[in-house]
């Protein structure tokens, strides 16, 4: 009878979930893994947008070196996980595209090897090379930088504001539904609020002499951090920051002209322009008096620790991906400022790119140390609670800091 087969079905459904979770990742890249020692095929993981550009570069490389390049298209959001899972089994690629803040995780898991930029290191923007470094060694070849800035609807606000208060004033004068917009969300969005936080002099981590982040120095909870927490509570009370405004709503409202300002990244420029809004890109105004520094995310390419083609991989990265033409082409598909200075200068004729690049040059790389994971976990929820007025801001902030500290110390 049916009754008797049912427990097996139930168990089956459950184990299928477990199966997906635990073995799905390793099953993903079956064929690209069967490389033999000394074989001369370079396997590169790349996302769908970057793949067409790399196709031409790969063809040129193959022609000159005789090494075949196999491009494997991957969903960008899944690369980090799959790379960490597959490299130890010997199935991963030789090179993968990635974001710099994955680096700490990669190094902790021993899946990447350092690359030598050699003398061309100086040709890249400092922030990009710093971002691609971990404990003093460079692990990736950067190709683009990405950061948020202030988008301004020039019709509603002809001038760029110089301070936060001025921005709010201009927004109120414009008479729109929102004086300004920034995505917050139910668990807040520390990434988008970070420029305000730094303007109070409260970065997450201090830095070592070589510019890398020092997990021992958690500066989040300093006096500036407390000031920022109080400021957040005020803005929440005044209705300027709302946890109900998530990314979609913020974009939607700006595009429909309900606010003159939106703090966001380059990804929202095109939708606004398509809606017929004349967009200007400015620096994020300071709320606490000091410079409002956004996080800069750097994208680049990493070499697998288990690559048998390390020389070819290095050659491909430094002498092909690291050239001006390729970086310009990569810029053309994503519109993120190139990491190579010469390429950046070439594309700076586009005012949006130039402006985002300029704001980014004054920004700070997003910490790539694994300890950052412990920060995210508490940061957003606490901010959301403060904005929603759940308790004393200074107290909540201090609790968060001690929670983070104990999470880092494990």
């Amino acid at each position: 009878m049916r009754v008797k087969t049912n427990p097996i079905l139930a168990i089956g459904a459950m184990t299928a979930v477990a199966a997906l979770a635990l073995t799905g990742c390793s099953a993903g890249g079956g064929d690209e893994g069967s490389k033999k020692e000394g074989s001369t095929t370079l396997t590169v993981w790349v996302d769908a947008d970057r793949a067409p550009v790399l196709k031409d570069v790969a063809a040129a490389f193959t022609k000159e070196s005789g090494i075949a390049v196999k491009l494997v298209q991957k969903d960008f959001g899944k690369i980090q996980e799959e790379f960490v899972q597959q490299v130890p089994t010997g199935k991963g690629p030789d090179i993968t595209i990635g974001a710099h803040d994955w680096l700490g995780n990669f190094v902790t898991n021993g899946v990447v090897q350092p690359i030598e930029l050699g003398d061309i290191a100086g040709d890249f923007q400092d922030v990009a090379v710093t971002a691609m470094s971990y404990e003093g060694k460079t692990y990736g070849l950067p190709y683009s930088t990405e950061n948020i800035a202030l988008l301004r609807n020039t019709e509603l606000a002809p001038e760029a504001p110089s301070t936060y208060d001025e921005m709010v004033q201009m927004g109120t004068d414009a008479g729109t539904e929102f004086p300004f917009l920034v995505q917050v969300g139910e668990e807040s969005d520390p990434y988008h609020l970070y420029p305000f936080q730094t303007s109070f002099g409260a970065p997450v981590f201090g830095t070592k002499d070589d510019g890398s982040y020092d997990s021992e120095q958690l500066l989040l909870g300093n006096d500036g951090g407390i000031d920022f927490a109080n400021w957040l509570a005020e803005q929440g009370k005044a209705g300027l920051l709302k946890t109900t405004v998530d990314g979609d709503i913020a974009k939607e409202k700006f595009v429909s002209g309900d606010s003159p300002f939106l703090i966001t990244g380059p990804w929202n420029v095109a939708p606004a322009q398509d809606a017929g809004i004349d967009v200007a890109v400015d620096a994020i105004p300071s709320a606490g008096g000091e410079a409002a520094q956004p996080f800069v995310g750097v994208q680049g390419f990493f070499v697998s620790a288990k690559s048998k083609n390390a020389l070819a991989a290095n050659e491909f990265l430094t002498n092909y991906i690291g050239t001006k033409d390729v970086q310009v082409e990569l810029y053309n598909v994503g519109k993120r400022p190139p990491a190579l200075t010469a390429a950046f200068e070439e594309v700076s004729s586009d005012p949006t790119t130039a402006a985002f690049g300029e704001v980014g040059a004054a920004g700070v790389p997003m910490p790539n140390i694994p300890e950052m994971g412990s920060v995210w976990q508490f940061w957003g929820v606490t901010e959301a609670d403060i904005i929603n007025g759940k308790g004393d801001p200074a107290e909540l902030w201090t609790t968060m800091t001690s929670d983070i500290r104990s999470a880092i110390e494990g």
Binding site: A13, Q113, E186, E187
Partner: protein, 538 residues
């Protein structure tokens, strides 16, 4: 005595004859030559695939996989090529799938639950050593880049380098760098030396793995560093900050002279407890299970999450069943007009993918901009998804919306299967409609529906989609100090332990999975035993 012997012999002959006849009949019945060819062809395909899989697993040195494939392939051949074993012939395909998709997965999960597999411990010790040594290569600050030509002499590779000041020197793994005269120059770079073959780029790439490993000491003292090449055309001076002593199994940091030893925790550990990352994966015994029950930061949430999981699954089944049953009864009444139209309408939520439905509901329930607050409650800011209790109610509500059509369908089917004569007979006997339902229809309905209710409970027990799409387990209590929210059920908590945040703990997550598995299994077994009582009604 002798007569019994002859009788025995005769009987044996008769038995043999019968058996031969039976075999003949069986062969005829099985379809003869065509089916034999089909059988051989199918087995050939399976054998070919297995053989390929065997070679692949051998090349990758996956011996467990190799053994399993070998056993399965051999059993298939034995089962289908020998006479007899009739039940096995029918059961084999199912058993193979059971092995692959269930036994293996459960076994693997169980195995992971007893290891510390996770961030920083995701490979073998050998890999960890390689990765540590690899990343411990420090380029000497401000050291120059040397132009490099790789030379080959009878399979031994040497570096021919030109320093920026024009000095040409040579060395290999065995001989430290020494100046040479008479090198062939091209544009200020030494490109050849008599007695050696200079490798072109293609040949360098052909042997890149060996060349990448070459470290040419710059002087007789190894502490001065060694030249290595990352690309085959230039060399840089590196010093290593970590030295692996294979005999002692220790890592030594040469800058601080700290000795890191393998203390059995899956990472090189210094005396002060400092660990070098990456470590490697080791078996930790039942540590993950004890952690789940004893560590305060996990045990607290685990208890509340478990209670909510049961409440959520039970209430979901109950509410959807009651609504579905009610509607089924209503729409099963012949006096109802336009039943078909309403039935289609009822099934709409079922036709909508569940996780999309949950996403849409998340938008509808937004505190400021959601349809529910904006239109239905006239702009009231009711925190549907951000207040712990309202979020729980919202989840049950949305699950009711998503789940009642299924129950409606099931109940409609079950009700229609109950013979109309029973109702008629009862009416004739003078029973009231509610009594008919309560005493006759409902018990009969339960016989069909009870197993489905149990499987529905098991499904909701692990209804990850709904929870994650609607609230992501939130709202989170910032003061709790752990990433678990008010509406997290066990499976979403496991997901967070394993996949959210920078440090993943697959071992702990697997241990949780097994605990959940045991809970669901126990409940199912008990419930199915109970429902057996219902079957006696039939």
């Amino acid at each position: 005595m002798s007569s019994t012997q002859t009788e025995d012999a005769r009987e044996t002959r008769v038995v043999h004859k019968r058996r031969r006849r039976a075999v003949r009949i069986a062969e005829q019945a099985s379809g003869g030559i065509t089916s034999l060819i089909v059988k051989i062809a199918l087995i050939a395909v399976i054998d070919a695939l297995s053989l390929y899989a065997l070679f692949v697993s051998m090349a990758q040195q996956q011996w467990t996989v190799f053994a399993v494939i070998l056993v399965i392939a051999a059993s298939i051949n034995i089962i289908y090529f020998t006479r007899g074993w009739l039940p096995a012939k029918y059961l084999a395909p199912g058993l193979v799938f059971l092995l692959i998709f269930q036994v293996f997965v459960i076994g693997y999960t169980a195995y992971i639950a007893f290891t510390n597999y996770g961030t920083g411990h995701n490979s073998t010790k050998q890999d960890a050593v390689i990765a540590l040594v690899q990343s411990a290569q420090d380029r000497v600050p401000d050291s120059p880049a040397y132009d490099l030509t790789v030379l080959d002499q009878l399979g031994t590779y040497s570096f021919l380098v030109t320093a920026p000041d024009g000095t040409v020197s040579m060395g290999n793994d065995a001989t430290p760098l020494h100046t040479v005269d008479g090198a062939e120059m091209s544009g200020g770079k030494a490109v050849g030396l008599s007695g050696y073959t200079a490798l072109d780029f293609a040949s360098i790439l052909q042997h890149q793995d060996e060349i990448a490993k070459i470290a040419v000491q710059i002087s007789d003292d190894p502490n001065d560093g060694a030249l290595r090449t990352p690309d085959g055309s230039s060399a840089y001076l590196y010093v290593s900050t970590l030295v692996y002593d294979e005999a002692a199994g220790t890592m030594t940091d040469t800058t601080t002279n700290t000795v890191y030893t393998d203390t059995g925790v899956g990472a090189f550990t210094a005396e002060n407890g400092e660990q070098l990352m990456p470590g490697w994966s080791i078996a930790v015994g039942t540590e993950n299970f004890t952690k789940a029950f004893t560590e305060q930061s996990i045990r607290g949430p685990l208890v509340s999450v478990t209670i909510w999981t049961f409440a959520f699954a039970l209430l979901s089944v109950l509410t959807t069943f009651l609504l579905g049953l009610f509607l089924a009864i209503v729409f099963n009444d012949m006096r109802m007009k336009g039943r078909k139209f309403y039935r289609v309408l009822m099934i709409l939520p079922y036709a909508f993918p569940g996780f999309l439905g949950a996403l849409v509901w998340a938008g509808l329930l937004n505190r400021d901009f959601g349809f529910v607050n904006d239109v239905i409650f006239g702009g009231a800011e009711i925190p549907w998804l951000t207040n712990e209790w309202l979020a729980k109610i919202s989840i049950l509500w949305v699950n009711l919306w998503l789940g009642f059509p299924y129950m409606f369908l099931v109940c409609t089917g079950a009700l229609q299967a109950i013979p109309e004569e029973l109702t008629e007979a009862a009416t004739v006997d003078g029973a009231k409609p509610f009594a008919i339902f309560r005493l006759i229809k409902f018990p009969l309905l339960l016989v069909t529906v009870a197993p489905l209710l149990i499987s529905s409970f098991a499904f909701n027990f692990n209804n990850f989609n709904l929870i994650y799409m609607l609230t992501e387990g939130g709202p989170r209590d910032a003061a709790a100090g752990i990433n678990v929210g008010g509406t997290d059920i066990l499976i979403s908590m496991v997901y967070k332990v394993a996949f959210v945040g920078a440090s993943r703990d697959y071992g702990l997550a697997s241990a949780f999975s097994i605990i959940i598995f045991v809970v669901v299994a126990v409940i199912s077994i008990i419930s199915f035993k109970q429902t057996k009582a219902l079957e006696d009604l039939n």
